[in-house]
Symmetry: C2
Subunit: 261 residues, 2 copies
């Protein structure tokens, strides 16, 4: 595919002022793309981001410049309504992992820039290592979004909505679920006078190992060994969702190795 | 508590030749503690470890030197029977997270050296950062085990069996369950033409964040946002244990934030 385009994107508007808007805006500005206007519901955050990237704080979506790319960095369920309010001359890109282009109101130039990362405003990210997934129903826009994103990341790929949704699902496991499991451990530690700092070397090593061998090979613990006596004791100690999570994951580990060994 | 002891341990025997035996033996030898004898079921592994630490390969537990500490590094369910075979003159320490001293056959000198870490033979560990938990029903042995362990780790604590079991339970979440969640993601990626390498920056960042803020604060994703539409779509894609894990963890995340916000 020929990805050279004459009309490269040099100015953008942003909708949203959350973590994704923050990281995209600041990184685009760093490499010389102008973020001219920002619109968002949280006026304090929008104001703060405008100041950071020297943009105009738009009071309404109608105020955004015509014929200029608008990047929507909002929660998924807001995207459809926002699209309807954006001037028809503006190409749109949104950053969601799961919203299909076909599910949104039809327009000629609409696409996706999906960064596969978890963002917090206060935590710096090396964006050049973050994979970005691009999609558009319009060939020219797809090339433009690809080239634009390539300026901030070394890992940009064009994929369709179905594959993007699958990657998002895998990301839910890798980030959201592992994080919640660690929350469970932190919460349990707190209520049982365990210093979570003592668990940090184990947590670090758990993740180091994934760089060296597959999670399938790395698995250890009572469920892996089939040590039902310990599993029973642990289940007796736990309550509520923690107990259910313990039971289901232990069952799933047992199933995984009974089937495969 | 006065932890100075005159009769410090200078020679040990090891039972087992798995990951824990491997890391303990090599690290003890490094700091001048002699591992004189090793006994284990897997003769190839025992032989290899004996060669590594210059120890004698014992053909029977009866051959281990009398009056010398024996460290049992075997799965939990083997400990009780092994204890019965060890000469009554030998103090014993075992490395389990969950086996209570009181559940084992009574003897005067029995204790625990529990390393809170996941070990693989081929993966080097900075043992000096690993927390070790010590326990003994005998005061002198407890001091001796504490001092012995302090030679290989900077983080050694004396705790009772109940607290040790609780720490082990937290460790199951931190290591075994997060690892299994990542296995689920790797397995899903494999069967859906997703390159898991694209998920590595997300995985790394997930763990970096834990060093900066609590998992409670770090939580993101569809369940955290209450995005039931996406959750429903993901559940439709998944099958078997993955589906059940997705449903339970999403429910647990929702419950966590509905209750607390």
């Amino acid at each position: 595919m020929n990805l050279i385009v004459k009309n490269s994107i040099e100015k953008i508007s942003i909708i949203g002022s959350g973590n994704v808007a923050w990281h995209l805006s600041t990184n685009f500005v760093k490499i010389g793309i102008k973020v001219t206007h920002i619109f968002g519901r949280n006026t304090i955050d929008v104001h703060s981001l405008c100041k950071k990237v020297n943009a105009i704080h738009s009071k309404s979506i109608k105020d955004l410049p015509k014929n200029q790319l608008v990047i929507i960095c909002t929660p998924d369920d807001a995207i459809s309504n926002i699209c309807k309010s954006i001037d028809s001359s503006c190409p749109i890109a949104y950053t969601s992992g799961s919203v299909e282009i076909q599910s949104l109101p039809y327009r000629e130039k609409i696409g996706v820039i999906y960064p596969l990362q978890t963002f917090s405003k206060n935590i710096k990210i090396k964006l050049n290592k973050v994979p970005f997934f691009i999609e558009s129903t319009n060939n020219l826009l797809q090339k433009q979004l690809y080239n634009l994103t390539l300026k901030i990341s070394n890992n940009v790929k064009i994929i369709d909505s179905i594959q993007r949704k699958k990657i998002h699902l895998a990301a839910v496991f890798v980030n959201n679920f592992t994080n919640h499991i660690i929350y469970q451990a932190q919460n349990y530690a707190k209520t049982n006078s365990i210093n979570f700092k003592d668990l940090m070397p184990l947590l670090e090593e758990t993740f180091n190992k994934i760089n060296i061998e597959s999670a399938f090979k790395s698995q250890t613990g009572p469920a892996r060994r089939g040590d039902n006596n310990i599993i029973k004791q642990h289940i007796e100690i736990l309550k509520g969702n923690s107990k259910e999570i313990y039971m289901l994951l232990s069952k799933s580990i047992k199933d995984t190795y009974n089937e495969k060994l």
